[in-house]
Amino acid sequence: MNDNMLRIENLTVRVDNHQILKDFSLNINKGEVHVLLGPNGAGKTTLIKAILGFKKYVVESGKICFKGEDITNLSISERVSKGIGVLFQRPPEINGVKLSKLLTVCNQKRSAFTKETTENACDSDLDEYMNNLAQRLKFSEDYLERDVNIGISGGEIKRSEILQMMVMQPDLLLFDEPDSGVDVENVEIIASVMRELLDRDKVPSKQEKSGLIITHLGYILKFLGHITRAHIVMNGKILCSGNPKQIINAVMKNGFEKCKECISCIDPTEKFEEVDFTL
């Protein structure tokens, strides 16, 4: 049985004329949740868009495998149909398309992808289902009738994104800064949904979903339970991977620049407990 969810092998990605990712490799197995840390411009968002297959993100070499299948040359929708979902950091505004409409389309797509029968999903059931999800995210019903991402706050955008993920129920979830621009209360709401989407409350043998989380703050990780591994990305490469607690503490204490010298992690006298970061 192949337990591999996402395997990125020696990926080099160019955007316009700049090489952003260089020989990048990453492996995420079923049930694992990885965290990606790194300074602005390190290539974290590029990685997510390259995994999805956005046009501007040109793969020069290497490959991306999902559930053992090479998806490097598939379209975005084909990749998504296989079970990849994403929460964007800054999604675009879509004029005239209501969030309720987008959620309905997401739901149809999910049913089609999973070949699930929709016999009991009549319109009113669906409305109720959507409204329940929206309520969990503290959205009023009229919010669903607004145009996607128009005239709403940063925190609302993140909640709208995760609402779409609740409907899509992907196997691999990519989170691009789910906590940036979100107040403390809403971070907890978002984290509780992430926890659920990522099977964090199930026993490890029942954890089927995988996740890749990009974050600057690390605060949200407090609420997510066990994180498998953390990686530091700099200049388009993984500089360091390891125990999330150890790595996050080192970054919090010394910043990314020190990571280049790798002082914190190799110094045996370093006391990680000094930074209170309960994972």
């Binding site: 046009k55 379209s75 929708s77 998504v80 675009p92 879509i94 005239g96 398309v97």
Partner: protein, 407 residues
């Protein structure tokens, strides 16, 4: 195909009205009731949202230059051919004098098309008169139809009067038979909306690639009068030019206009609206949505003149280009003649951004599905300014027309 290198002012080609003929009116039919209308005509009417057998307040049908049918079902709302109305309302015995409204909102010497309508003795059209305080519950319907008569000149003059406190909801459909080659439609419409009256007007055009169209519309709004105008054209056309002039003379009167154009083939549109805000506190909003494909060319104009004290106006012209050879010129103009006005505009022309398409694709939609969703969102007009029954009808019409025209 229109030469796109030419500047805008040069493009409006000259039309020689002598090249067009009027049909022999002696052979025209007159239907006594809706049931008499032949099925193929009913089908044409349906494409512009006119449902013959439905329960509406009244119906008017004019094929070519002859009013064929006129049924009014509601007391207090008069609907009749204009010629008949001119005879009836001559000002005698204290009656309304229609001459007081004749060519007052549109000048007869505005251009050769209005002059043609003023001079040509065949000119007829509809007269709608809502008596004071009367309200339509279901919309009135009117249909102007160009029969399969090559080179036909259809000359129409409509007058609509909403007396104080009345409410009028009208659906107008103008359409040409598929066999109507190289016809021209000249349509003069004059609206007089009096104190506290409200008119909601949805107009759908469905022409063919040989039709030339010159509607000339004037609207006069008195104190506290409200006008909502929805104009939808999604068919091909040869050349269409229209620019309703709205004079908001009364205090606190308001105008809301929304135009929806789907331009395809070699169609050329020059559409707009000009609102003159004269009365204190009056306001206007002019919105246009243009979707241009193939080799079409659309000029989308909007002009608001802020004259009175504390008036507000906003223009929003947005256009999506769905073909590399389509062209849209968006020309919003705001003109303040008084410092105490608030006038704003926004305009955009361009293709659908890859960012938006890819975002929707990341939710599992294919590229085509993503484009379709964005386009349907673009065309999802806000019908909330219309009364509920007309809003429902208008949404239904847009849905129907977009399905049949866009596939």
């Amino acid at each position: 195909m229109i030469n796109k290198d030419k500047i805008v002012e040069d493009i409006d080609e000259d039309i020689d009205l002598n090249e067009y003929k009027v049909e022999d009116l002696k052979t025209s039919k007159f239907y006594n009731s809706e049931q008499d209308i032949p099925e193929d005509l009913k089908d044409s009417m349906k494409k512009v949202g006119i449902e013959v057998d439905s329960d509406k307040s009244g119906i008017f049908l004019q094929s070519g230059n002859n009013p064929d049918l006129c049924v009014s079902k509601v007391q207090g709302i008069e609907l009749m051919p204009l010629k008949e109305a001119l005879k009836k309302y001559d000002g005698s015995n204290g009656k309304l004098n229609l001459q007081d409204y004749f060519w007052k909102a549109v000048a007869s010497n505005k251009d050769k098309f209005t002059a043609e309508a003023a001079i040509n003795e065949i000119t007829d059209g509809y007269f709608i008169h809502a008596l004071a305080g009367q309200k339509t519950i279901f919309p009135l319907q009117s249909c102007l139809f160009i029969p399969p008569f090559p080179g036909l000149k259809q000359v129409v003059h409509n007058i609509i009067i909403a007396e104080p406190g009345s409410q009028l909801d009208i659906i107008t459909g103008c359409t040409a038979h598929t066999g109507a080659k190289s016809a021209i439609h000249l349509g003069v419409s004059e609206f007089y909306v009096k104190k506290d009256a409200k008119v909601s007007f949805t107009m759908v055009h469905n022409w063919n690639e040989t039709t030339k169209v010159r509607p000339r519309t004037g609207i006069i709004l008195e104190e506290n009068a409200k006008f909502s105008n929805f104009y939808i054209v999604m068919s091909a056309v040869k050349n269409l030019q229209t620019n309703p002039i709205i004079k908001l003379i009364g205090k606190n009167s308001s105008y809301y206009g929304q135009t929806l154009i789907y331009a395809k083939g070699d169609s050329y549109f020059d559409t707009g609206a000009t609102a003159h805000l004269i009365g204190e506190g009056c306001k206007a909003e002019i919105i246009s949505r243009v979707l241009a494909v193939d080799d079409s060319y659309v000029i989308a104009r909007g002009k608001i003149i802020g004259d009175g004290k504390n008036v507000t106006g906003h223009i929003d012209c947005s256009a999506l280009l769905l073909s590399p050879t389509a062209r849209v010129d968006s020309i919003p103009a705001i003109n303040a003649l008084n410092p105490e006005v608030i006038l704003t505009h926004e305009a955009s022309v361009g293709k659908i951004s890859d960012e938006n398409i890819e975002y929707l694709m990341s939710r599992g939609l294919t590229e085509d599905e993503a484009i379709n969703l964005i386009v349907s969102g673009f065309l999802d007009v806000d019908t909330s300014p219309l009364p509920p029954s007309l809003a429902k009808e208008t949404e239904k019409i847009i849905d129907l027309v977009s399905k049949s025209e866009m596939g």
